[in-house]
């Protein structure tokens, strides 16, 4: 098999200064509506095509370890307790207690109230601590409340904040309001990384996904994330493809690299590998790193571990051989 060397999506066009756009509603609207449209059929076809790549043997092993390192191990339940999240954090540090060569996950993602309990476990480990904030998942709260939520999570030890955009304002066409909220949240984050959840299932069209992606990046988001996991339609391959194209084009235009996080509904190794193929062939190896691509997931991790064990030992171990936390 001959193949081509992977190609980095380097920017060849001149860098543009887009920082002024957020100053006026008109400028923002003109810019966002001037982005090239997305053809739904074409985008879905391309995503499906990328899903037919056959990743086997060494490539599969490499992909599984990378996917484990990219997992944001998540629990966002009303029933979360300190005991539950501590156990989850322990799992994040050593996903496979039977195999010390298994890497740790990218981050643990919890509600702000649970952050202190997780912080104790993760301190000094290299596993990031993400917290949803800004009145997750609906975002339907006064801005002051959302910012206080953010600050509380950061003060308690979160170094990544997953905020939700104001979909009501976005769908009503009040882009500047959405923009200003992201800017304010970014400021409230301080040094913490800001992931901006677009809740693509509520945006409905790929054109909206592309516009919301650019809006979030223009406002300073470090990551764009598909979903809260709390509405029926979560991450899908075509939505993620459109977002990857957006971060690629944004870097080409501004020089700043932004990460992508599909979240919700990714449960199997097979699915995770399809996403990695999509990253590889859409934005290139620069994004194949937990700093630039994450999976928001909970049950995915055990499937990755099962497949990993299968590759190393040649046999499938039953679910009882993997921890449930």
């Amino acid at each position: 098999m001959r193949r081509l060397p992977g190609m980095t999506a380097t920017a060849t066009s001149a860098r543009s200064d887009l920082s002024e756009l957020g100053r006026s509603e008109t400028a923002l609207r003109t810019f966002l509506h001037g982005l090239p449209g997305v053809d739904q059929v074409g985008a879905e076809q391309r995503a499906a095509q990328l899903g037919t790549r056959s990743i086997k043997t060494t490539a599969k092993a490499q992909a599984i370890d990378l996917a484990i390192r990219m997992v944001d191990l998540t629990t966002l339940e009303g029933a979360d307790t300190p005991g539950k999240v501590r156990a989850l954090a322990a799992k994040a540090l050593r996903p496979d207690p039977a195999d010390p060569s298994c890497p740790h996950v990218g981050a643990v993602c919890v509600y702000p109230a649970m952050v202190p309990h997780v912080a104790e476990v993760l301190r000094g480990s290299g596993v990031h601590l993400a917290s949803v904030a800004t009145a997750f998942p609906s975002g339907q709260a006064p801005l002051e409340v959302k910012l206080a939520d953010t600050r509380a999570a950061v003060e308690a030890g979160a170094d990544e904040i997953d905020m939700v955009i104001n979909r009501g304002a976005f769908l009503a066409g009040r882009y500047k309001e959405v923009y200003d909220e992201i800017v304010a949240t970014k400021e409230a984050c301080g040094d913490a990384h800001l992931k901006v959840i677009l809740e693509t299932g509520e945006l409905a069209t790929y054109d909206n996904v592309r516009r919301a992606s650019w809006l979030a990046m223009l406002a300073g988001g470090d990551f764009i994330k598909t979903s809260t996991g709390k509405v029926p339609v979560a991450a899908t391959p075509p939505v993620t493809l459109v977002m990857l194209e957006a971060v690629r084009d944004f870097r080409a235009a501004t020089g700043r690299q932004v990460g992508v996080k599909p979240a919700g509904g990714i449960r199997t190794t097979k699915d995770a590998i399809k996403y990695l193929v999509m990253v590889n062939e859409t934005v290139g190896p620069d994004w194949l790193d937990p700093d630039w691509f994450r999976f928001g997931a909970s049950s995915l991790l055990n499937d990755l571990l099962m497949q990993r064990t299968k590759l190393t030992t040649g046999v499938y171990a039953g679910p009882d051989y993997f921890t449930l936390d």
């Binding site: 098999m1 001959r2 193949r3 081509l4 060397p5 992977g6 190609m7 999506a9 060849t12 066009s13 090239p36 449209g37 997305v38 053809d39 059929v41 074409g42 985008a43 076809q45 391309r46 037919t52 790549r53 056959s54 990743i55 086997k56 043997t57 060494t58 490539a59 599969k60 490499q62 992909a63 990378l66 194209e245 990695l276 193929v277 590889n280 062939e281 190896p285 194949l288």
Partner: protein, 476 residues
């Protein structure tokens, strides 16, 4: 870096015999007056099998067998019974699709992902579709009781060997004709496996006859006086010769010939999807596609941006082993075709167009050509006028919709065209003015058995597919 490990499809699923005879009157027979030739794997130049070359006497035997089957069995048979056989063939094709796909990739050089995901599903779909028509011909719009023509002589090309067979055989049989089919000399193997499928389906002897051979065999078939219908897909040059040979006879003729399609990208196009469409338009099946979008017309205001995206996308194309499931571009079908692609590409450079290919390591054995684009091409260049039939794209620019139409139509061909724009009204305006048999909007190379396909001008006449595809096989 994320390197994809080799993921080869197993070739052991298909059993290739060392030699094949001609399929006449339901049996494999040795040629009486012909010789034999070898079919090779274009990706390795390895000999796959020795295949009989049918002579004039063999063609005569086949036509007589087809005539007898037409008069005694297939012609009188009620449509619902013909349908039963066609449905059975369609199901066997689906059941044996993996085998057929592997054989198609071995003999033709096309990537397994295309033979598996495009060719074979379409082949089965064509048989299913026309099976449905067999007992409904009186409702096809050709009068209350349309009659078949008799014996159809069918000559098909090497670019989609089994799919072109399906396009020819399925409507012919549904309408009540019997056939003698000559596959291309570089890709006869899937047609011979199809002959085995006809046996497996208990298709009455003589309804389908497969006579392998090269140009002379095809000529003998087309010129045979016992033939009522000639259907040909291939080059315009051979199409002209066939039209001359058939002129003045009672034979009904349909021709599906070359193309030099324009793929037109407007400044409001969905760029990422347009780039996918451009890639699919010219690099699908190594560009061995008569309706390939081989002339890219980009509105000048977005030309740089589209080309930058296109080059980035082309660098992701994986060229190599056709049986690897991750291969995007396989082998060129033959040494002769490779020589033609090289000759025209060299003419492109010599005439002043700028040539670009992504960094691309090609295998040493076999016939290979890197995906290539030429920019700065004008209408006067040979690469903008002649059909290259390879992975070579000529890029031109335009300023206004009217200029796009003018340039798109400025070719002796008229098989297909593509339009990329977000504006629905412009799609309709353009489609009205483009002289091409198929106009794709915001997509390219989309095929479906229900949709008629065929050309304007030197791209041929007659339609295949859909209700329209029945007309060429009915006495109307």
């Amino acid at each position: 870096m994320f390197e994809y490990a080799p993921a080869p499809e197993s070739r052991s699923v298909v059993d290739i015999k060392p030699s094949y005879g001609l399929f006449i009157d339901g049996k494999f027979v040795d040629p009486t007056d012909g010789g034999s030739f070898k079919s090779i794997n274009p990706a390795s130049e390895e000999v796959l099998a020795e295949v009989a070359e049918g002579g004039a006497g063999d063609v005569d035997r086949a036509v007589r067998a087809a005539r007898a089957a037409y008069e005694k069995v297939w012609g009188p048979m009620p449509g619902r019974d013909r349908a039963k056989y066609l449905f059975r063939i369609a199901r066997i094709i689906q059941e044996r699709s993996r085998e057929l796909a592997v054989l198609e990739s071995l003999d033709n050089g096309k990537p397994i992902k295309e033979s598996r995901d495009v060719d074979l599903p379409l082949v089965a779909a064509h048989f299913f579709y026309y099976a449905g028509w067999a007992d409904k011909l009186e409702h096809a719009g050709f009068g209350p009781n349309p009659r078949p023509l008799g014996v159809a002589a069918q000559v098909i090309p090497w670019n989609f060997p089994l799919l072109m067979l399906a396009w020819k055989i399925a409507p012919a049989l549904a309408a009540g004709n019997t056939v003698v089919l000559k596959p291309a000399e570089t890709t006869p193997l899937t047609a011979l496996l199809f002959a085995e499928i006809c046996q497996q389906a208990d298709l009455p002897a003589g309804v389908v006859n497969i006579v392998t051979g090269a140009g002379e065999t095809g000529r003998a078939l087309v010129e045979h006086p016992g033939v009522d219908k000639v259907a040909f897909t291939g080059s315009t040059e051979v199409g002209r010769a066939i039209a001359r040979a058939v002129a003045g006879t009672r034979k009904k003729l349909t021709l599906e010939l070359g193309g030099k399609a324009a793929n037109i990208v407007f400044d409001d196009a969905p760029i990422d999807q347009a780039v996918e469409g451009i890639v699919n338009g010219i690099f699908f099946n190594q560009g061995h596609v008569c309706c390939a979008g081989s002339r890219l017309l980009i509105q000048e205001s977005v030309a740089d941006r589209v080309l930058e995206s296109l080059k980035r996308r082309m660098a992701q194309l994986r060229v190599g082993d056709p049986l690897d499931k991750n291969t995007d571009i396989g082998a060129i079908n033959s040494a002769a075709q490779l020589a033609r692609i090289r000759e025209l590409s060299e003419a492109g450079s010599a005439e002043g167009a700028e040539r670009w290919s992504p960094p691309c390591e090609l295998p040493e054995r076999g016939f290979w050509f890197a995906p290539t684009i030429f920019t700065g091409v004008t209408q006067a260049h040979r690469i903008a006028r002649e059909e290259i039939f390879g992975p070579v794209l000529s890029v031109l620019t335009f300023r206004t919709p009217a200029e796009a139409v003018e340039k798109a139509n400025n070719t002796p061909y008229g098989l297909s065209a593509g339009i990329w724009t977000d504006k629905g009204s412009r799609i309709l305006w353009m489609a009205d003015r483009l002289r091409a048999g198929v106009v794709w909007a915001n997509t390219f190379n989309k095929f479906d058995p229900t949709s008629p396909f065929g050309g304007y001008k030197e791209s041929g006449y007659g339609r295949e597919g859909g209700r329209h595809g029945l007309e060429g096989y009915l006495n109307v």
